[in-house]
């Protein structure tokens, strides 16, 4: 199975990446500013939505229904979309999906494509796969364009270039965008205008577009893309050929269900009451928009995640990234440290669930389990519980001898009154450890003092008191 770019290296070393990231002052400031802004906007909008908790329950319930009857909804979508003139393709993994998209484009005879921002195509590494086949796919989302021009990787699900500030973006445009104006400043309007002119040329000449989808509506065979810039709308309407790569969990049963999700998504994702552009299409409309319409459904580990009874709730995810914006770990490391297309709390569960925890055993440990992610999740994914469950799986899949022994020794000491009392009385050795702590305790004492151990454990006080 080829999972594409779900993880960037087998066993991405989060702890090491994170140690480097926390020392990058520029990165720290960029991420702190950006997440604080979105966090504040989201909180304000949630506060003005009186039925927010009911919406969350509804979102979770609709998605759970989809996950329980995925086969039925997928075939319903296939039937309706086919009836409306779309071609449906099925891909088990990244390489199958990339092969399907490559073949469709080759049949058009084109060598260029424009792209709507999409996590699914990011996940399968589509742009790279197309490049190897001689096809250039241009990202048209402003942030994705910044990433593509600088040969970087996205660091956030909704705001991929969140780790860059405008001075850095000016530099990237000046160095890598051939048609950038000579005297480009870092004024946001000037930067946006430069990107706009660059992209406009691509929109007008390119015959093939690639997108993902936020929702796939089983009842109508329609897809929905929500975006802020309108560049997605350009891609979805101007070219002759439109290929959408969609995860099988993106389904919702009916058009009416959008009532719930189009309230949850923009508030959670960008802190807006609605997305500036919501594009919905079903198959082909004669004389209007793309006439050669394809939908490529990908599994790529989703059925593996579905088989995990505790973990499957991660498939409710609507990719809003609210969990990233509130995560104190993400705020200090940024997205790249996770070494996965899906970073942050949701990435720390979704990625191991999809690729197998043995290939990403550090990710479930990339959390202090503070629970802020669960609190904001618009579809009530209990991320902390899934993290704990995946830690158990990680320990089983990749045993660590010294750690196993330590925890076994602790469990043994806690297994009976006499053993425990003896262990408590030996806690006084900490007085010695306070100053000469060996690893891994030294990781604690590097930045914090150890507490001065008490004269006697609590239970000794209790017993003496009873006698007195």
């Amino acid at each position: 199975v080829n999972s594409g770019e779900l993880i960037w290296t087998d066993d991405p070393p989060f702890a090491r990446n994170a140690s480097e990231a926390v020392n990058d002052s520029q990165l720290r400031r960029n991420i702190r500013n950006a997440t604080a802004t979105i966090r504040k906007r989201r909180a304000g909008l949630v506060a003005e939505t009186p039925d927010w908790q009911e919406l969350r329950h509804a979102g979770a319930a609709i998605k759970d229904d989809v996950l329980h009857h995925l086969d039925g909804y997928l075939t319903q979508f296939e039937q309706n979309a086919t009836d409306r003139g779309a071609r449906i393709h099925w891909a088990r993994d990244a390489s199958e999906a990339n092969a399907v998209v490559t073949e469709i484009i080759k049949q058009t005879g084109e060598t260029e494509a424009i792209k709507v921002k999409s996590m699914a195509t990011q996940e399968i590494g589509l742009v790279e796969a197309l490049r190897r086949a001689g096809i250039t796919a241009h990202e048209t989302d402003l942030a994705e364009l910044i990433i593509q021009l600088s040969h970087d990787k996205p660091s956030h699900i909704v705001v991929p270039a969140l780790h860059r500030n405008r001075a850095e973006i000016r530099r990237i445009f000046a160095d890598h965008m051939p048609d950038a104006p000579k005297n480009l400043t870092d004024d946001p309007h000037a930067l946006a205008e430069a990107a706009r002119l660059h992209l406009r040329r691509l929109f007008l000449k390119t015959k093939v577009a690639i997108s993902g989808a936020n929702f796939a509506i089983a009842e109508t065979g329609g897809l929905l893309v929500a975006e802020s810039e309108g560049n997605g709308r350009m891609c979805l309407t101007l070219p002759d050929t439109l290929i959408s790569v969609v995860g099988i969990e993106k389904l919702i049963p009916t058009f009416r269900d959008l009532e719930v999700f189009l309230q949850l998504l923009p508030r959670s994702a960008t802190g807006e009451r609605m997305n500036p552009y919501n594009s919905i299409w079903a198959g082909v409309t004669e004389g209007d928009g793309p006439q050669n319409v394809h939908v490529v459904f990908i599994d790529n580990g989703r059925t593996k995640a579905l088989a995990d009874t505790i973990g499957r709730q991660a498939l409710r995810c609507i990719r809003c990234a609210a969990c990233l914006n509130v995560c104190p770990v993400y705020e200090r490391t940024g997205g790249h440290a996770y070494g996965s297309t899906y970073p942050g709390p949701i990435g720390a569960i979704l990625t191991p669930l999809m690729v197998g925890v043995e290939h990403a055993p550090q990710l479930p440990f990339a959390s202090s389990l503070c629970g802020a992610c669960y609190e904001v999740c618009p579809v009530e994914i209990d991320i902390p519980t899934v993290l704990v469950k995946l830690r158990r799986d990680a320990v089983k899949a990749k045993p660590h001898r010294a750690e196993d022994a330590t925890f076994q020794a602790a469990a043994s000491a806690m297994s009976g009154r006499r053993r425990w009392t003896a262990a408590l009385r030996s806690a006084k050795v900490m007085r010695f450890l306070r100053h000469t702590a060996p690893p891994p305790l030294s990781k604690w004492t590097r930045t914090r003092d150890l507490p001065d151990p008490p004269g006697e454990p609590f239970r000794d006080w209790w017993r003496k008191r009873g006698q007195g």
Partner: protein, 246 residues
């Protein structure tokens, strides 16, 4: 009402004052309390590190099942008892234990929950003439949802100068073994928490979990910040006759 104290392994081993203070508060309110000596640990440290220990769940349930209520000076441990014990028992295939664990968890209370929801008191007759700031630990805030119970109790303490902790809902970075497995991220989070504590100009940082306080206090001590950490119970146990020294 037969009430048991679950001291938690950390308080039993390293922070007995929080346990003594809990006993003092309850007895002052006329509630006798027992400390069953068979108790050890709720198993959270193991579970959160990837080691599910159904034996620790069984020990907890066996020890505390006979009581009407169990009170613990830790939101984190009570959170684990309420949210992890049944999962761990079920995972081990022991559905009888899971059912018993659920029952026992239901009558296990964090200190501020017990005082307000069971004892129906917000004023425990405490006296503590110091400038104090309260850090709502993540598990008290988002797992147990204790809300403003601890601050309602603190507001009724005579002589106290209770001040807000800026950005108080942010995690301190402890996270159990997270602090060892990801020491640099943990330290970065700690730095921001210490900044908030110093900004509050408090002389005492108070919380309902000794674990988080061990981490924040260890950092404050390292930089000689001149701020002491005290468990909520220790402040509530202080009286004019017996003032705990910050």
């Amino acid at each position: 009402m037969r009430v048991a104290l679950f001291a938690t392994c950390l308080v039993d081993a390293l922070f007995p004052d929080a346990g003594k203070a809990t006993v003092q508060i309850l007895e002052r309110l006329g509630q006798s309390v027992e400390f069953p000596l068979e108790q050890t640990c709720c198993g959270q440290m193991h579970a959160n590190s990837g080691y599910f220990e159904p034996n620790l769940v069984r020990r907890y349930v066996d020890t505390f099942e006979p009581y009407d209520a169990i009170v613990a000076p830790s939101a984190s441990c009570v959170g684990a008892i309420r949210h992890q014990h049944t999962m761990i028992a079920r995972d081990a295939g022991d559905h009888t234990l899971a059912a018993r664990a659920e029952q026992t968890a239901r009558k296990t209370y964090e200190l501020s929950q017990f005082l307000i929801d069971v004892m129906h008191t917000e004023d425990v007759g405490a006296y503590f003439p110091h400038r104090v700031t309260y850090h709502p630990t993540c598990h008290s805030l988002r797992m147990l949802h204790v809300g403003d119970r601890p601050t309602r109790l603190l507001e009724n303490v005579k002589g106290i100068d209770l001040v807000d902790l800026p950005r108080n809902d942010e995690c301190c970075g402890f996270g159990g073994t997270f602090s060892i497995k990801n020491p640099d991220v943990s330290a970065a989070m700690l730095a921001d928490k210490m900044e908030s504590v110093i900004e509050s100009r408090a002389e005492v940082l108070c919380a309902g979990d000794r674990s988080c306080l061990m981490h924040i206090g260890g950092g404050l001590e390292r930089i000689r910040a001149g701020v002491r950490t005290m468990h909520l119970a220790e402040i509530l146990a202080s009286t004019e006759r017996e003032t705990k020294k910050p």
